[in-house]
Symmetry: C2
Protein backbone atom coordinates (compact mmCIF):
# COMPACT_ATOMS: atom_id res chain seq x y z
CA UNK A 1 0.00 0.00 0.00
CA UNK A 2 1.12 3.54 -0.70
CA UNK A 3 1.36 6.47 1.66
CA UNK A 4 -1.65 7.46 3.73
CA UNK A 5 -3.82 10.34 2.57
CA UNK A 6 -6.82 12.01 4.17
CA UNK A 7 -9.40 12.89 1.50
CA UNK A 8 -12.17 15.36 2.29
CA UNK A 9 -15.30 13.75 0.91
CA UNK A 10 -18.69 15.42 0.60
CA UNK A 11 -20.01 12.95 -1.95
CA UNK A 12 -20.21 15.61 -4.66
CA UNK A 13 -18.59 15.37 -8.08
CA UNK A 14 -15.43 17.21 -7.11
CA UNK A 15 -14.58 15.38 -3.89
CA UNK A 16 -15.52 12.00 -5.36
CA UNK A 17 -13.31 12.56 -8.39
CA UNK A 18 -10.52 13.74 -6.08
CA UNK A 19 -10.82 10.51 -4.10
CA UNK A 20 -10.58 8.50 -7.33
CA UNK A 21 -7.44 10.44 -8.28
CA UNK A 22 -5.82 9.90 -4.86
CA UNK A 23 -6.50 6.19 -5.12
CA UNK A 24 -5.22 6.10 -8.71
CA UNK A 25 -2.00 7.77 -7.51
CA UNK A 26 -1.53 4.89 -5.09
CA UNK A 27 -2.47 6.52 -1.80
CA UNK A 28 -4.12 4.58 1.01
CA UNK A 29 -7.28 6.62 1.41
CA UNK A 30 -8.81 7.79 4.70
CA UNK A 31 -12.02 9.61 3.79
CA UNK A 32 -13.29 12.39 6.05
CA UNK A 33 -16.84 13.72 5.81
CA UNK A 34 -18.13 16.53 7.94
CA UNK A 35 -21.60 16.95 9.32
CA UNK A 36 -21.76 20.72 9.76
CA UNK A 37 -25.50 21.10 9.96
CA UNK A 38 -25.90 21.42 6.19
CA UNK A 39 -29.48 21.49 4.94
CA UNK A 40 -28.83 18.81 2.34
CA UNK A 41 -28.04 16.19 4.91
CA UNK A 42 -28.39 13.61 2.17
CA UNK A 43 -24.81 14.38 1.18
CA UNK A 44 -23.49 12.35 4.13
CA UNK A 45 -25.32 9.25 2.87
CA UNK A 46 -23.89 9.88 -0.58
CA UNK A 47 -20.42 10.19 0.91
CA UNK A 48 -20.86 6.82 2.61
CA UNK A 49 -21.89 5.21 -0.65
CA UNK A 50 -18.87 6.69 -2.43
CA UNK A 51 -16.52 5.55 0.37
CA UNK A 52 -17.90 2.03 0.12
CA UNK A 53 -17.65 2.05 -3.68
CA UNK A 54 -13.95 2.92 -3.49
CA UNK A 55 -13.28 0.58 -0.53
CA UNK A 56 -11.42 3.26 1.40
CA UNK A 57 -9.29 2.18 4.36
CA UNK A 58 -11.48 4.15 6.77
CA UNK A 59 -14.36 6.61 6.46
CA UNK A 60 -14.91 9.00 9.33
CA UNK A 61 -17.83 11.36 9.71
CA UNK A 62 -17.19 14.05 12.27
CA UNK A 63 -19.50 16.72 13.62
CA UNK A 64 -19.03 20.45 13.82
CA UNK A 65 -22.13 22.54 14.04
CA UNK A 66 -21.76 25.70 11.95
CA UNK A 67 -25.46 26.62 12.13
CA UNK A 68 -25.16 28.89 15.18
CA UNK A 69 -22.74 31.11 13.23
CA UNK A 70 -25.39 31.69 10.57
CA UNK A 71 -24.52 33.79 7.52
CA UNK A 72 -24.99 31.11 4.85
CA UNK A 73 -27.88 29.87 2.77
CA UNK A 74 -26.43 26.36 3.16
CA UNK A 75 -26.90 26.27 6.94
CA UNK A 76 -29.81 28.64 7.63
CA UNK A 77 -33.35 29.18 6.41
CA UNK A 78 -32.08 31.72 3.86
CA UNK A 79 -33.22 30.71 0.35
CA UNK A 80 -30.77 29.15 -2.11
CA UNK A 81 -30.90 31.20 -5.35
CA UNK A 82 -32.39 29.45 -8.39
CA UNK A 83 -32.35 29.60 -12.15
CA UNK A 84 -29.39 31.93 -12.44
CA UNK A 85 -27.84 31.60 -15.85
CA UNK A 86 -24.21 30.62 -16.18
CA UNK A 87 -23.07 34.18 -16.91
CA UNK A 88 -24.26 35.21 -13.45
CA UNK A 89 -22.46 32.41 -11.64
CA UNK A 90 -19.00 33.35 -10.40
CA UNK A 91 -19.42 37.11 -10.58
CA UNK A 92 -19.93 37.55 -6.85
CA UNK A 93 -19.38 35.38 -3.80
CA UNK A 94 -22.80 33.80 -3.41
CA UNK A 95 -25.07 33.45 -0.37
CA UNK A 96 -24.21 29.76 -0.28
CA UNK A 97 -20.75 30.75 0.97
CA UNK A 98 -20.23 29.33 4.48
CA UNK A 99 -17.83 31.50 6.52
CA UNK A 100 -14.41 29.87 6.89
CA UNK A 101 -15.80 26.48 5.91
CA UNK A 102 -12.79 25.13 4.05
CA UNK A 103 -10.45 26.37 6.79
CA UNK A 104 -12.46 24.42 9.34
CA UNK A 105 -12.57 21.35 7.08
CA UNK A 106 -8.85 21.45 6.31
CA UNK A 107 -8.09 21.91 10.03
CA UNK A 108 -10.06 18.79 10.86
CA UNK A 109 -8.36 16.90 8.03
CA UNK A 110 -5.00 18.08 9.39
CA UNK A 111 -5.89 16.86 12.90
CA UNK A 112 -6.74 13.44 11.56
CA UNK A 113 -3.71 13.37 9.26
CA UNK A 114 -1.38 14.12 12.15
CA UNK A 115 -3.02 11.47 14.34
CA UNK A 116 -2.76 8.91 11.51
CA UNK A 117 0.79 9.84 10.57
CA UNK A 118 -0.41 10.88 7.09
CA UNK A 119 1.38 13.69 5.26
CA UNK A 120 -1.14 14.12 2.47
CA UNK A 121 -4.51 15.84 2.40
CA UNK A 122 -6.66 15.85 -0.73
CA UNK A 123 -9.43 18.36 -1.35
CA UNK A 124 -11.62 18.94 -4.39
CA UNK A 125 -11.12 22.70 -4.43
CA UNK A 126 -11.52 24.18 -7.86
CA UNK A 127 -10.90 27.68 -9.13
CA UNK A 128 -12.33 27.37 -12.65
CA UNK A 129 -16.02 26.64 -12.59
CA UNK A 130 -16.16 27.72 -8.99
CA UNK A 131 -18.89 30.00 -7.80
CA UNK A 132 -16.63 32.62 -6.29
CA UNK A 133 -15.58 31.03 -3.01
CA UNK A 134 -12.39 32.65 -1.66
CA UNK A 135 -11.29 29.47 0.07
CA UNK A 136 -11.06 27.52 -3.19
CA UNK A 137 -8.22 29.55 -4.72
CA UNK A 138 -4.62 28.35 -5.14
CA UNK A 139 -3.20 31.15 -2.96
CA UNK A 140 -5.51 30.11 -0.16
CA UNK A 141 -4.48 26.45 -0.42
CA UNK A 142 -0.75 27.34 -0.43
CA UNK A 143 -1.32 29.50 2.64
CA UNK A 144 -3.02 26.64 4.46
CA UNK A 145 -0.18 24.31 3.53
CA UNK A 146 2.32 26.69 5.11
CA UNK A 147 0.16 26.94 8.19
CA UNK A 148 -0.12 23.15 8.47
CA UNK A 149 3.64 22.79 8.71
CA UNK A 150 3.86 25.46 11.43
CA UNK A 151 0.81 24.25 13.36
CA UNK A 152 1.67 20.66 14.02
CA UNK A 153 4.04 18.68 16.17
CA UNK A 154 4.90 16.43 13.22
CA UNK A 155 5.48 19.46 10.96
CA UNK A 156 7.62 21.38 13.45
CA UNK A 157 9.67 18.35 14.44
CA UNK A 158 10.38 17.79 10.74
CA UNK A 159 8.91 14.29 10.76
CA UNK A 160 6.23 15.17 8.26
CA UNK A 161 5.98 17.72 5.49
CA UNK A 162 2.28 18.24 4.99
CA UNK A 163 0.99 18.66 1.48
CA UNK A 164 -2.47 19.81 0.46
CA UNK A 165 -3.35 18.27 -2.91
CA UNK A 166 -6.01 19.93 -5.04
CA UNK A 167 -5.81 18.01 -8.32
CA UNK A 168 -8.96 19.67 -9.73
CA UNK A 169 -7.82 23.23 -9.18
CA UNK A 170 -7.38 24.14 -12.86
CA UNK A 171 -10.01 21.86 -14.38
CA UNK A 172 -13.46 22.78 -15.66
CA UNK A 173 -16.43 20.75 -14.46
CA UNK A 174 -16.50 18.97 -17.83
CA UNK A 175 -12.82 18.04 -17.52
CA UNK A 176 -13.37 16.82 -13.97
CA UNK A 177 -16.21 14.55 -15.08
CA UNK A 178 -14.20 13.26 -18.02
CA UNK A 179 -11.29 12.40 -15.73
CA UNK A 180 -13.61 10.78 -13.18
CA UNK A 181 -15.28 8.63 -15.83
CA UNK A 182 -11.86 7.49 -17.05
CA UNK A 183 -11.08 6.41 -13.45
CA UNK A 184 -14.31 4.46 -13.13
CA UNK A 185 -16.30 6.87 -10.97
CA UNK A 186 -19.98 5.98 -10.73
CA UNK A 187 -21.56 9.44 -10.70
CA UNK A 188 -24.96 7.99 -9.86
CA UNK A 189 -23.60 7.72 -6.29
CA UNK A 190 -22.82 11.43 -6.14
CA UNK A 191 -24.97 14.48 -5.56
CA UNK A 192 -24.47 18.17 -6.24
CA UNK A 193 -27.65 20.01 -5.29
CA UNK A 194 -27.61 22.77 -2.66
CA UNK A 195 -31.33 22.42 -2.06
CA UNK A 196 -32.70 18.92 -2.72
CA UNK A 197 -36.21 17.71 -1.88
CA UNK A 198 -36.63 15.96 1.50
CA UNK A 199 -36.25 12.67 -0.42
CA UNK A 200 -32.91 13.88 -1.79
CA UNK A 201 -33.95 14.63 -5.36
CA UNK A 202 -31.86 17.48 -6.85
CA UNK A 203 -33.64 20.74 -7.75
CA UNK A 204 -31.88 21.20 -11.09
CA UNK A 205 -31.96 24.97 -10.71
CA UNK A 206 -29.34 25.99 -8.10
CA UNK A 207 -25.81 27.03 -9.18
CA UNK A 208 -24.45 23.63 -8.28
CA UNK A 209 -27.06 21.69 -10.31
CA UNK A 210 -26.59 24.03 -13.27
CA UNK A 211 -22.79 23.60 -13.26
CA UNK A 212 -23.16 19.82 -12.98
CA UNK A 213 -25.63 19.51 -15.85
CA UNK A 214 -23.54 21.80 -18.03
CA UNK A 215 -20.44 19.70 -17.27
CA UNK A 216 -22.06 16.46 -18.39
CA UNK A 217 -23.64 17.98 -21.48
CA UNK A 218 -20.37 19.61 -22.57
CA UNK A 219 -18.64 16.25 -22.94
CA UNK A 220 -21.75 14.54 -24.26
CA UNK A 221 -22.00 12.30 -21.20
CA UNK A 222 -25.17 11.20 -19.45
CA UNK A 223 -25.86 12.62 -15.98
CA UNK A 224 -27.28 9.60 -14.15
CA UNK A 225 -29.26 11.74 -11.67
CA UNK A 226 -32.97 12.42 -12.00
CA UNK A 227 -34.03 15.99 -11.33
CA UNK A 228 -37.22 17.50 -9.94
CA UNK B 1 -19.38 50.36 22.29
CA UNK B 2 -16.12 49.60 20.54
CA UNK B 3 -15.41 47.23 17.71
CA UNK B 4 -16.55 43.63 17.95
CA UNK B 5 -14.04 40.96 18.94
CA UNK B 6 -14.35 37.20 19.18
CA UNK B 7 -12.42 35.92 22.21
CA UNK B 8 -11.57 32.22 22.50
CA UNK B 9 -12.41 31.34 26.08
CA UNK B 10 -11.56 28.08 27.81
CA UNK B 11 -11.97 29.48 31.31
CA UNK B 12 -8.26 29.02 32.08
CA UNK B 13 -5.94 31.76 33.29
CA UNK B 14 -4.66 32.71 29.86
CA UNK B 15 -7.96 32.99 27.99
CA UNK B 16 -9.67 34.70 30.94
CA UNK B 17 -6.91 37.29 31.19
CA UNK B 18 -7.05 37.75 27.42
CA UNK B 19 -10.78 38.43 27.66
CA UNK B 20 -10.12 41.03 30.39
CA UNK B 21 -7.53 42.70 28.15
CA UNK B 22 -9.88 42.79 25.15
CA UNK B 23 -12.58 44.37 27.28
CA UNK B 24 -10.09 46.83 28.76
CA UNK B 25 -9.07 47.83 25.22
CA UNK B 26 -12.70 48.73 24.55
CA UNK B 27 -13.79 45.79 22.39
CA UNK B 28 -17.32 44.46 22.45
CA UNK B 29 -16.63 40.86 23.45
CA UNK B 30 -18.17 37.75 21.86
CA UNK B 31 -16.79 34.80 23.80
CA UNK B 32 -16.42 31.44 22.04
CA UNK B 33 -15.88 28.21 23.96
CA UNK B 34 -15.41 24.88 22.31
CA UNK B 35 -16.60 21.53 23.50
CA UNK B 36 -14.13 19.21 21.79
CA UNK B 37 -14.61 16.16 23.95
CA UNK B 38 -11.99 17.24 26.49
CA UNK B 39 -11.76 15.08 29.60
CA UNK B 40 -11.93 18.07 31.93
CA UNK B 41 -15.42 18.99 30.84
CA UNK B 42 -15.61 21.24 33.87
CA UNK B 43 -13.78 23.88 31.84
CA UNK B 44 -16.96 24.71 29.95
CA UNK B 45 -18.75 25.54 33.20
CA UNK B 46 -15.80 27.67 34.22
CA UNK B 47 -15.93 29.45 30.88
CA UNK B 48 -19.60 30.22 31.45
CA UNK B 49 -18.85 31.67 34.88
CA UNK B 50 -16.09 33.85 33.42
CA UNK B 51 -18.34 35.04 30.57
CA UNK B 52 -21.04 36.01 33.08
CA UNK B 53 -18.50 37.76 35.33
CA UNK B 54 -17.34 39.93 32.44
CA UNK B 55 -20.87 40.46 31.08
CA UNK B 56 -19.82 39.60 27.52
CA UNK B 57 -22.16 40.53 24.69
CA UNK B 58 -22.67 36.87 23.78
CA UNK B 59 -21.15 33.57 24.85
CA UNK B 60 -21.34 30.71 22.40
CA UNK B 61 -20.35 27.13 23.10
CA UNK B 62 -19.89 25.11 19.94
CA UNK B 63 -19.20 21.43 19.49
CA UNK B 64 -16.50 19.70 17.51
CA UNK B 65 -15.62 16.22 18.54
CA UNK B 66 -11.87 15.65 18.33
CA UNK B 67 -11.95 12.36 20.25
CA UNK B 68 -12.21 10.10 17.18
CA UNK B 69 -8.89 11.49 15.95
CA UNK B 70 -7.18 10.34 19.15
CA UNK B 71 -3.48 11.10 19.66
CA UNK B 72 -3.82 13.30 22.75
CA UNK B 73 -3.87 12.70 26.49
CA UNK B 74 -6.48 15.48 26.73
CA UNK B 75 -9.07 13.63 24.66
CA UNK B 76 -8.27 9.94 25.13
CA UNK B 77 -7.71 7.53 27.98
CA UNK B 78 -3.95 8.15 27.75
CA UNK B 79 -2.62 9.30 31.17
CA UNK B 80 -1.73 12.94 31.77
CA UNK B 81 1.87 13.08 33.09
CA UNK B 82 2.30 14.17 36.70
CA UNK B 83 4.86 15.69 39.01
CA UNK B 84 7.26 16.76 36.31
CA UNK B 85 9.49 19.48 37.62
CA UNK B 86 9.63 22.83 35.86
CA UNK B 87 12.90 22.06 34.13
CA UNK B 88 11.24 19.21 32.27
CA UNK B 89 8.29 21.28 31.08
CA UNK B 90 8.76 22.83 27.68
CA UNK B 91 11.58 20.59 26.51
CA UNK B 92 9.42 18.43 24.29
CA UNK B 93 5.93 18.72 22.85
CA UNK B 94 3.92 16.88 25.50
CA UNK B 95 1.30 14.14 25.19
CA UNK B 96 -1.35 16.71 26.08
CA UNK B 97 -0.83 18.22 22.61
CA UNK B 98 -4.06 17.92 20.62
CA UNK B 99 -3.37 17.67 16.86
CA UNK B 100 -4.22 20.93 15.07
CA UNK B 101 -6.34 22.11 17.99
CA UNK B 102 -5.60 25.82 17.77
CA UNK B 103 -6.05 25.75 13.99
CA UNK B 104 -9.51 24.26 14.48
CA UNK B 105 -10.33 26.75 17.25
CA UNK B 106 -9.11 29.77 15.26
CA UNK B 107 -11.06 28.56 12.21
CA UNK B 108 -14.25 28.43 14.25
CA UNK B 109 -13.51 31.86 15.72
CA UNK B 110 -12.95 33.15 12.18
CA UNK B 111 -16.28 31.70 11.02
CA UNK B 112 -18.11 33.46 13.83
CA UNK B 113 -16.13 36.67 13.35
CA UNK B 114 -17.06 36.81 9.68
CA UNK B 115 -20.72 36.09 10.44
CA UNK B 116 -20.72 38.84 13.12
CA UNK B 117 -18.81 41.35 11.02
CA UNK B 118 -15.99 41.33 13.59
CA UNK B 119 -12.41 41.92 12.45
CA UNK B 120 -10.71 40.97 15.69
CA UNK B 121 -9.98 37.58 17.23
CA UNK B 122 -8.30 37.28 20.62
CA UNK B 123 -6.53 34.15 21.80
CA UNK B 124 -4.49 33.49 24.93
CA UNK B 125 -1.60 31.86 23.08
CA UNK B 126 1.66 32.19 24.91
CA UNK B 127 5.19 31.29 23.87
CA UNK B 128 6.97 31.83 27.19
CA UNK B 129 5.69 29.49 29.86
CA UNK B 130 4.11 27.33 27.21
CA UNK B 131 4.64 23.62 27.31
CA UNK B 132 6.00 23.28 23.80
CA UNK B 133 2.86 23.52 21.68
CA UNK B 134 3.74 24.44 18.08
CA UNK B 135 0.44 26.26 17.55
CA UNK B 136 1.17 28.81 20.28
CA UNK B 137 4.16 30.44 18.56
CA UNK B 138 4.17 33.92 17.00
CA UNK B 139 5.06 32.59 13.53
CA UNK B 140 2.07 30.28 13.67
CA UNK B 141 -0.28 33.10 14.66
CA UNK B 142 1.02 35.38 11.87
CA UNK B 143 0.52 32.54 9.40
CA UNK B 144 -3.07 32.07 10.52
CA UNK B 145 -3.69 35.81 10.22
CA UNK B 146 -2.54 35.73 6.59
CA UNK B 147 -4.73 32.73 5.95
CA UNK B 148 -7.75 34.44 7.50
CA UNK B 149 -7.53 37.29 5.03
CA UNK B 150 -7.29 34.91 2.08
CA UNK B 151 -9.96 32.52 3.34
CA UNK B 152 -12.91 34.81 3.82
CA UNK B 153 -15.36 36.72 1.72
CA UNK B 154 -14.94 39.78 3.96
CA UNK B 155 -11.15 39.52 3.78
CA UNK B 156 -10.98 39.05 0.02
CA UNK B 157 -13.51 41.78 -0.70
CA UNK B 158 -11.40 44.13 1.42
CA UNK B 159 -14.25 44.90 3.81
CA UNK B 160 -12.43 43.47 6.78
CA UNK B 161 -8.79 43.07 7.64
CA UNK B 162 -8.71 40.26 10.17
CA UNK B 163 -6.33 40.52 13.08
CA UNK B 164 -5.41 37.76 15.52
CA UNK B 165 -4.53 39.33 18.88
CA UNK B 166 -2.36 37.36 21.28
CA UNK B 167 -1.62 39.88 24.03
CA UNK B 168 -0.03 37.26 26.29
CA UNK B 169 2.45 35.96 23.73
CA UNK B 170 5.58 37.34 25.41
CA UNK B 171 4.44 37.21 29.04
CA UNK B 172 5.37 34.70 31.74
CA UNK B 173 2.57 33.11 33.73
CA UNK B 174 3.44 35.40 36.66
CA UNK B 175 3.17 38.48 34.44
CA UNK B 176 -0.14 37.25 33.04
CA UNK B 177 -1.59 36.83 36.52
CA UNK B 178 -0.28 40.22 37.62
CA UNK B 179 -1.91 41.88 34.61
CA UNK B 180 -5.17 40.00 35.17
CA UNK B 181 -5.32 40.99 38.83
CA UNK B 182 -4.79 44.63 37.85
CA UNK B 183 -7.79 44.30 35.49
CA UNK B 184 -9.99 42.82 38.19
CA UNK B 185 -9.96 39.18 37.11
CA UNK B 186 -11.40 36.84 39.75
CA UNK B 187 -9.15 33.81 39.33
CA UNK B 188 -11.35 31.72 41.60
CA UNK B 189 -13.63 31.40 38.54
CA UNK B 190 -10.84 29.93 36.42
CA UNK B 191 -9.33 26.48 36.22
CA UNK B 192 -6.10 25.15 34.80
CA UNK B 193 -5.88 21.44 35.52
CA UNK B 194 -5.53 18.91 32.67
CA UNK B 195 -6.82 16.10 34.87
CA UNK B 196 -9.22 17.23 37.62
CA UNK B 197 -11.27 14.94 39.86
CA UNK B 198 -14.82 14.17 38.70
CA UNK B 199 -15.93 17.01 41.02
CA UNK B 200 -13.59 19.40 39.23
CA UNK B 201 -10.87 19.68 41.87
CA UNK B 202 -7.45 20.31 40.27
CA UNK B 203 -4.77 17.63 40.65
CA UNK B 204 -1.95 20.06 41.44
CA UNK B 205 0.56 17.83 39.71
CA UNK B 206 0.09 18.15 35.94
CA UNK B 207 2.15 20.65 33.90
CA UNK B 208 -0.71 23.10 33.84
CA UNK B 209 -1.28 23.05 37.64
CA UNK B 210 2.46 23.36 38.25
CA UNK B 211 2.80 26.38 35.96
CA UNK B 212 -0.24 28.02 37.56
CA UNK B 213 0.98 27.55 41.12
CA UNK B 214 4.45 28.76 40.21
CA UNK B 215 2.94 31.87 38.56
CA UNK B 216 0.99 32.86 41.64
CA UNK B 217 3.84 32.17 44.03
CA UNK B 218 6.32 34.14 41.94
CA UNK B 219 4.38 37.38 42.42
CA UNK B 220 3.43 36.54 46.00
CA UNK B 221 -0.27 36.27 45.13
CA UNK B 222 -2.74 33.80 46.54
CA UNK B 223 -4.08 31.11 44.19
CA UNK B 224 -7.75 30.93 45.17
CA UNK B 225 -8.13 27.29 44.02
CA UNK B 226 -8.04 24.32 46.37
CA UNK B 227 -6.00 21.36 45.15
CA UNK B 228 -6.35 17.62 45.74
Amino acid sequence: MGEKAVVLLSGGIDSTTTLAIARDQGYEVYALSIDYGQKNHIELQKAQAVARFFKVKQHMITNVDLRPFGASALTTSQAVPKKRNLAEIGKRIPVTYVPARNTIFLSLALAWAEALGAAHIFMGANAMDYSGYPDCRPEYIRSFEKLANLATKAGVEGKTHYRIHTPLMELTKAEIIRQGLSLGVDYSLTHSCYDPTPEGMPCGRCDSCILRQKGFSKIGAHDPLEYV
